[in-house]
Symmetry: C2
Subunit: 373 residues, 2 copies
Amino acid sequence: MMRTPPAKPGDRLDNVDTPALIVDLDALEHNLDRMQEIADAAGVVLRPHAKTHKCPTIGGWQVTRGAVGQCCQKTEEAERLVEGGVEDVYVSNEVVGATKLARLAKLARHANISVCVDDARNVADLSTAASKAGSTLDVLVELEVGGGRCGVRNPQAAADLAIEITGAPALRFAGLHVYNGSIQHARTRAERLAAGHVLQHKVGETLEALSGKGLECPRITGTGTGSFREDIEVGCLNELQCGSYVFMDADYGRNLGGGDAPISDFRQSLFVLATVMSKPEPGLAVLDAGLKALAFDSGPPLIDTSPGLTYLAASDEHGEISGAPESLPTWGSKILLVPGHCDPTVNLHDHYVGVRNGVVEKVWAIAARGAGT
Amino acid sequence: MMRTPPAKPGDRLDNVDTPALIVDLDALEHNLDRMQEIADAAGVVLRPHAKTHKCPTIGGWQVTRGAVGQCCQKTEEAERLVEGGVEDVYVSNEVVGATKLARLAKLARHANISVCVDDARNVADLSTAASKAGSTLDVLVELEVGGGRCGVRNPQAAADLAIEITGAPALRFAGLHVYNGSIQHARTRAERLAAGHVLQHKVGETLEALSGKGLECPRITGTGTGSFREDIEVGCLNELQCGSYVFMDADYGRNLGGGDAPISDFRQSLFVLATVMSKPEPGLAVLDAGLKALAFDSGPPLIDTSPGLTYLAASDEHGEISGAPESLPTWGSKILLVPGHCDPTVNLHDHYVGVRNGVVEKVWAIAARGAGT
């Protein structure tokens, strides 16, 4: 079911229907340029994560600037990215189940596809699927490095799994996946640097274990928008997976750099535009954007231009804003919200409305929105 | 962008791709029948809320059983419902902004459309839009009855607004909207009954104020799956808006009836099917369903058939399940989750997979998913 876009090119921002997902194109382009500069300066490959933007159009802009391809988390996201012209896609996640594996293996006939594993049964299933499809899959071993989620737990297990991959028809061992999601929102540089040293140590031991089995490790891939500075500094990755930097969000905005100073590399480019649909009593304004327009897992949105106002409470289709009566927006007016968490907020919308200087320049589909299988 | 359905009729539940939104058709039909029986026995009209199912197919099943039409919250939802064959749609919410009002007024040329207001400026804008479209809108006054969100705050203001409506071209005063969202999840019958008495008192005063101005009040509409029993008992509504009863969820399951006994009128019919994609250490299983497949605003999902297991933590595409190692599901197996909150969970999916006796009987689109404007 194709949704009606909330705007068309040439519309003024004030005339965009709400709730709408707004992208500040100047800020987005700044962010895309800046991250590629950082990767280039560090001498590492950038493979941005499409789990944030879910959109081959933005993926294409990243590749044009020098990215090697895209990461994603789901087979269906990979399908949308390849359909949209991305030629090198890494599903940085385990893909389990015959239906998904058949699709992934088929996709590898049309693009370079890599995927990660943490279980020998999955290696066998991937090999069967790729052999059947007549394709080859690059397979990385996921090594747990602090997140406590997926991934083999020790270097020896990683090396054993790498051997399984090298012995399996239609698979190539492509490297190590080492992502620590839990450190991305650690506020201080000291915490993130400590996690970087743990990562470095565990990767070092694993490279030794691989070497002991005569295996080279082409890719060592990981990190995110929160921890890439420290992970570059400890120097054990050759591929960066950062995704959220394209948009940023309220929660990433709370991370601090050296000396606990704010970090200014990236600008907030993602917003939700909402309308004040009710002002029923002094000190309260009700917006038309709640749980179905914004993600709340990392806290409520911020109110872009009015830090004195608070997004107090969300229900399914409403948001309550409190503040001094004279500072509240007027009935019927529109305001921009900074989402608490960018990825799941994007997943609630079907279109990006790209704005520059207050005018809509481009409206485009979020092709992999909801692509969850 | 049309998503690929995760199953087709005839598939076994075990072969449905994941994550998928599963509907137990026996339980759904039981719920549809039961609520219509309850409304009939109480002598009140049932107008179920489509904000839960977002689907004219299910809306049609409700109308076939005796419902007068549907409620929804958004203009775009109303458009999808009318396109899908529903002939009487109430947008039980304020609609603000010229674009939306023009669409709503146009829709009223093809179906009976009603909407609620809490501001005289909105009455004027609705009248302008309906006059321009050559249609007539039924307009209800929203009276705040405890939720503290939208709605005029006192009976006199409600009566004044009703007079505005009766004086406005192309509008008809259709009644009072009195919904208290905050009481739906109050656990005890005593709390909900107390709220019902507050509702009764405020509605009584408002009917007097309307009568004092010579106005009749055709519809008094409100309540939800949590509080309808008590609101029927106090007897001040003639139209029920319950929506969540079609599916139920973990949070509604925690409401208690008389003597603090569990309530058994409705069965859980909505589930998310997930795959165990990693078992990296004893006591931990990682599922492929996280923030992008389930809503967490009312708590994590329950694990349907294994109450000893806990859905511990969600990230964007993962869910971590903890429990005794021997009770955890096996690697690659699939399990059913009971969503914490049904409405925003439905909003993350594009298809219902209807299952009976372990076999997929019907797969159909959630036509108004994401219809937020």
